[in-house]
Each structure stands twice: as C-alpha cells, then as structure tokens.
Symmetry: C2
Subunit: 436 residues, 2 copies
C-alpha cells in the first residue's frame, strides 16, 4: 500500500478536444484537491492527438509528450491508466482494447462505444483485473453510474426513467415556455452552443438511447442490444401538442425508460425499454426538469423512488467527472472511508451571528398609530432594508406585521429585534427566519 | 482474487431491532442478487443481542449463533465484517473500535456515533486497512455518502444543503397543506409511526445536525465539532408563519446547510453551517420535497447544482442500504466495473407494440357532423376507452380532437389509428404519445 501511494499515477490521454483540454486544466489547477483525496500525484505523461501542433504542446504540462501514435500510449509500460476522450467507436475501441490487454486501467466518457460495442471491453477488463470507469458517459454531472454500481447495489431495481439528453430537453422547454416551434427552438439551441450543427444524435433520441443502454446494464445486469432499442425523437414534435398537453396539466418530455415486468406465473422477467416523447404530469419532479438539465428516477420496491437531478453536460463538468474516475483509479487498492486520505482538519467556523441572508420577520403589535414607523426605525438603525411588508388583519387588537428583508446578518436582525422589544409595542416575541 | 471470491463473507451482526431484522430478511431473500453482484455468499455467523430469546433464535438462519457477549463478535477470527445496528454511542463505540482492532471491516448506520465520537474510529480503520461504511447513516435511501466519496470526488464543493429529517418534513408538510398546528401534526406523525414517542432528536434538529456533520466531512474534508453546531428545530413553528410565507411564494422547511466562504484576500476558507427553519421559494426543487422524503442539494462551481431526492428512512430501506455496504465489502479487492460479477445476460424484451400505457391522441378532422362518433367507434373497436376528450376550435375548417385514453397497448393504438385513417375523415396524420 505505501509503495502504491507514494508514487504518482501516470496518465495517458487520448483526445484533446474540449473535455480533454478541460481535464488538462483540472489536473493542473486541482493538485491540492487531488493530494487530499488520494495522497499521490496524478501526472499526465502522454497525449494522443491526430495532429500534433505547437499550440497543443503548449497546453500540456512540462514533461508531457504529444504523440500521434496510438501504441505509444497503449504499450507504454510506465502509463497506469488511459483516458479515452476521442469519441467515435472504431479507433476508440481499438485503443481501449489494446490498452486493457497491456493491463492499463481505462477511464472514458464514450457512451456510443460503450452502448454499441463494449462487451469484449468489459470482459478484457475483468480478465486483466483492470478498472474500466465511465461516469462521464451518462447524464453529465449526475453521479448515476456510481450510484447504481455501489450504494444501490443491494436493491432490486424495478424501473429507471430519465431525461438523459439536455439538448432535447432545452428545445422542449423552449417550445413549452415560449411557444416556439421545433425549428426555431433548435436554431436557438445551436446558437447558444447547446446543440451540434448536426443535431441527429440528440433530437432523434439516439444519444438518450445510448445512455439508457448503459443504465439498463447497471441497474438490471441485462444487455439490451442497442440496435433493437425502440427510439423516437422530438423532431416532429408539434407545438400544438405541447400546448394541449399543458391544458391537461402535463409537460412533454423526451423520456428514456426501462422497466422490468415479472411474469407471476413463470417467475420470468422481461424488460420494457425505449426512448420516446411522453406526457409527464406537472406534479412529478421529472416534469420540473428544465433547460439543459438531466434527471434520473430509479424505482425499487424496498426504497421507493430515488430522483437525481443535475446539469446534463458541458466540457468542464464532464472533465471533473473524468477526474473523479481517475481519483478512483488512484486509490483502488485502499479503503476509501471518508473520501480523503488526509486527516480531517478542524473547520474554521463562521459564527451564526455573521451569517448573511434575507430574512422573514413577523412582529405582533398593538393596533395603534405609529407602530409601523417604530419598527421601521429599529430596522433602519441596523441598516436592514425591507423588500416587502404586509400588514395583516387585526386579531383581537393585535396586528401581525410581516416583513421580507434584503440581505443582512443574523446579528443585525437580533439587535433590531431587541430594539423593537424595548419600544414596548410588541404583544408577543418576534419571529424571524432565513430566506434561501 | 480467486480465493477471496470463492469463500463466503462472514458477517457478525450487532443489534436485532427493525433494521437488523430487515437485514436478516434481505440476506435470506436476496441470495440470487448477492450472487450476481459479488459472486460469493454473505453468511450471517453471529448476532449480538442484549437478551437471547427463542423467538430471536428462530429468526436466524441455520448455523447462526445468538450471543450476548460482545467479544464473541469482535474477536471471532472467522468473522470478516461487523454490522453495527445497536444505535447509541457508548457500547457501539466500544464494539466498533474493538472490531477494527481485530481487523474487521465495519458497516454501520449510526449517525449519532459517527457525528459525535468517531475520529478515532476512522483512524483505526485507516491503520488497519479496514472499510468503515455508513451509507445508511445519512438521508435514508439517498446515496449521498457514496456520491460524495466517489463520483463527486473531483469537484470543489461550495455548498451542501438538505432536508435531512423526514419526521420534521412530514410535520411541516402537514402544517402547510392542512393548516394544522405543530402539536396536532406531531401527534399525527406519531400515530403513523413517523415520529418517536420522544421526538426531541427529530423536531429539535439534532438528527439533521448529526447528518450534516457527516456530510461536512465528506464534502469538504473538514471536521465541524457537533457540540458547536448551531441548531434550531421546528417545535416553536407557528402555523401563521407558514401561511404568511406561502403568501409570498415560499415554503418553510427545516434546512441543514453548510457553505464554504473563501476570503479572497487571505485565500483562507471558513465554513458556515447549521440547522434552521428557512423559507424556500416554491420554484426550488427543495420546496417540492414533501412528507417523509429527504433531499440533498450539492453545489459546485464546475458542475452546478446536483439534487438528490428519496425516502428519508424506514427499516427495510435502511437494511437495503446496509446490504449495499456489505456488497462493497464483499468485493473490495476487485474492480467493480458493471456492478455485477457475472456476465451481463441478454435481456428478454417486451416488444413496443405490447407496451401498456395511457395515451394522448390528437387527430385533425374536417369540421363535419359525425366525426367524433367515427373516431370513437374506431377506438371502441380496439377496446380503448377514453378518460377525457377536448374538441378544440376550428382552424380553417380543420378541427383538432384531443383525447386522453385509459390504459391500453401501443398495438391497439396503432390499429385504432389505422382504422381512423381508413374512414377518410383525417386531414393530417394522427399523433399519439404515452402518458407517464
């Protein structure tokens, strides 16, 4: 254990696009975090690109070699882990299988490859006792792979349902809130960088289907051949249907769903799975997923529904997930009980009286003239300014005054309330709560 | 590796209350799941109780010994892992530290112990290379411990905010929706088994504060002494404030929050943390957390907000989380890439035409008499019954008819639509979507 933890983890990176560059940046900026999390350096040793340029070399840390030769990564005995961020299926498959054969651990965010052609990769990883990690491949920042492999491993999962494509969800959200039609919403998504020039993978449902294929394996231990998956996208979505659905209390969402059906007679289970637009009642959390966010809902008989929600994608978010996978590789040979290898430090504490917040305040005063002014004076003395005031109806000559303040400190609030008490106008102790 | 995977994992269980009994049940019922997840048996070897009775012995699997002697668990060389479900701090601390000293892995759901007095336990675990797992100790079914230690390890977390006590949330939800006062809502929660006879830990915020203390360590690697934590509960919550907050568009929630403040000048960070009732705007997902549910919101600069939502507690849910921790112990010495040790089987597939669902249907027909009847006839022929129909306004002599059906199959829907097409009344292709 000591020997493994004292030497750096050497990384070979394939692909230097936006996610790859983001990872290079995080590895440089987050050295302190990495030290606390795993107690060893993570060192970028080689980067595989199609074309080596001086600009690319300049992005890399000192001592890191730029190469255009795949085997220079996969066969390098000094590299511990290969991070595949090239995308696509053919070359990436070749890279990963060769790296696994050389005993390298793998971190990838390549959902198309994992969904369409990865059976042999997982087998190779098992045979070579290698980690093959892919948290970045599903649902962006939502930690769904780790959740299904570990904390939920003790559950019989009955169904998994999600909004797995941020681009489609953005388009549907715009069609819903602004009454745009599909083409206009797509163009807007493209202008904002939320959709590719060729949006097929996203709006026709294939990206969500890739991710669903991975989730099905993780949740049920079952393989659903990607080519057989029923997939319907949102390209033909008519804004009228979105409007009509709304009248019934529903939102239209692009849903990826997999559900186990148990045949009571035979005891056999069958899987219903696919990607399709559907109406979701507005009271469901899934209906509240807006813009480029993703969400996953996992249902099991014992635990009930579990709902995870977060940003769908983005280069730096995905890079941070890839970094998390690298941290897992770096500490694979030791227990991870706290998430940190260092002793937990004592926190330096902000005392409650210095907490800054907006506040809700209720004071009960006599129904007499001047009381509003008196309270306002005490607040002003403490530099507390008001956002809203409501004077409620008189209850037995006692009037509730309710305020929403602008941001202030708990200390200022306590002092102001003490001053109000001293005026003698209060008929009950004042009440105040923070507003989040 | 082969040797570890071929022999069972031997478990010593301390405590046979509702969670302990639930675990015994899951270990018996879930043998197939366990085999698929970790490829080895998990065998209950000894159970520590205060009083050994025949009824208790009868609950246990054959060969499992009931004991009242703590050292019989902690010192047994054949036991690999000790599951502590006794609760309390004194005896549990003694049990865990002695078991760790004997090199046993630990699984516990004891938040009070971990929050108040566990520094030496984590040190002992590190020194003895033992796993100390505690997913069951925070936020019930929400996989927050695993999320923070692994998939989010590559993030600088800025804040963590949650609804961590189901009892308080149930009481506040009832006060909000039914206008009950605190005492009535507490009595109702007690009658339903959501609150203890002595509700102090829950309604006065200490349970949430225990959990927050654990989350602070996991998110920031910082120790916030439990005794110094500012804690305010909901016992004095006046239903008037809940009603007034509602008028402003807010819900009152018992919030546990920890937030890092970075001093730009010195670069030093300070932690603001505490448990307090607060007003949460109704548009926030946290405001939507109802009844005995819990939720956690983790914010980081790179990944934005991540929101996790699930049931707060319950004996069997907690037992399933404890089982997940046991599975992690069972496979600690090997990569866990898919969550299963067995080859992923081919799924047996439900073909899309057999999917059962409610459906939304829109057909565009000529504005002539009899068309409603014609469409209804085609639907009835396929045994599709209607829940709602709206005839929208005429657009250039074309009338949209919108239906919400009761549950039917995709096949019946397709056939009905084909029949509608054949009537010749359609002015555009029909559109139909599932309703979730």
């Amino acid at each position: 254990m000591e020997s493994a933890s004292s030497r750096p983890l050497y990384v070979g990176l394939a692909g230097l696009g936006t996610v790859g560059s983001g990872l290079v940046r995080l590895l440089r900026e987050d050295r302190e975090l990495i030290e606390k999390r795993v107690g060893r350096d993570i060192v970028l040793r080689k980067v595989l690109v199609r074309t080596a340029t001086r600009e690319r070399q300049a992005m890399l840390p000192e001592g890191c070699e730029l190469t255009t030769d795949m085997t220079s990564l996969t066969d390098d005995p000094q590299i511990d882990v290969v991070v595949e961020l090239m995308g696509g299926t053919g070359a990436a498959h070749k890279l990963i299988s060769r790296a696994l054969a050389h005993g390298k651990h793998i971190v990838t965010a390549n959902k198309a490859l994992l969904a369409e052609d990865s059976e042999d990769l997982f087998r190779l990883a098992r045979e070579n006792n290698c980690l093959l990690r892919y948290e970045g491949s599903v649902a962006g920042c939502i930690p769904i792979v780790g959740t299904l492999t570990d904390p939920l491993a003790g559950n019989h999962i009955d169904s998994i349902m999600g909004i797995l494509n941020g681009t489609s969800n953005y388009i549907l959200s715009e069609m819903t809130s602004n009454g745009m039609d599909f083409d206009a919403a797509l163009t807007q998504a493209q202008e904002l960088g939320y959709a590719e020039a060729d949006p097929t993978l996203d709006v026709d449902g294939f990206d969500a289907a890739h991710k669903l294929t991975l989730l099905i394996r993780l949740a049920f231990g079952l393989d659903y051949p990607f080519a057989s998956m029923p997939v319907q996208g949102i390209r033909n979505m008519d804004k009228r249907d979105i409007a009509f659905a709304r009248e019934f209390g529903y939102r239209v969402k692009l849903i990826a769903e997999a559900r186990l059906h148990k045949d009571e007679a035979s005891g056999k289970t069958r899987l219903e799975a696919g990607v399709f637009p559907a109406l979701v009642h507005h009271s469901f959390l899934l209906a509240r997923v807006g813009g480029v966010y993703n969400a996953v809902r996992i249902e099991s008989q014992v635990s009930g529904p579990i709902f995870l929600h977060g940003r769908g994608a983005g280069a730096l978010p995905t890079a941070s997930v890839v970094l998390s996978d690298l941290l897992a590789v770096a500490r694979m040979d030791r227990p991870n009980n706290t998430g940190f290898v260092t002793e937990i430090e004592k926190a330096s504490i902000v005392p409650p009286e210095h907490w800054r917040s907006r506040y809700y305040v209720r004071v009960m005063v006599s129904d007499e003239s001047g009381v509003l002014r008196d309270v306002a004076g005490c607040m002003a003395d403490e530099d507390i300014s008001m956002a809203q005031v409501i004077q409620k109806e008189n209850e037995d000559n006692v009037v509730p005054l309710v305020y929403m303040t602008h941001e202030t400190t708990a200390q200022a609030m306590s002092r102001a309330m003490q001053k109000v008490r001293e005026t003698g106008i209060l008929r009950a102790d004042p009440v105040f709560y923070r507003i989040l």
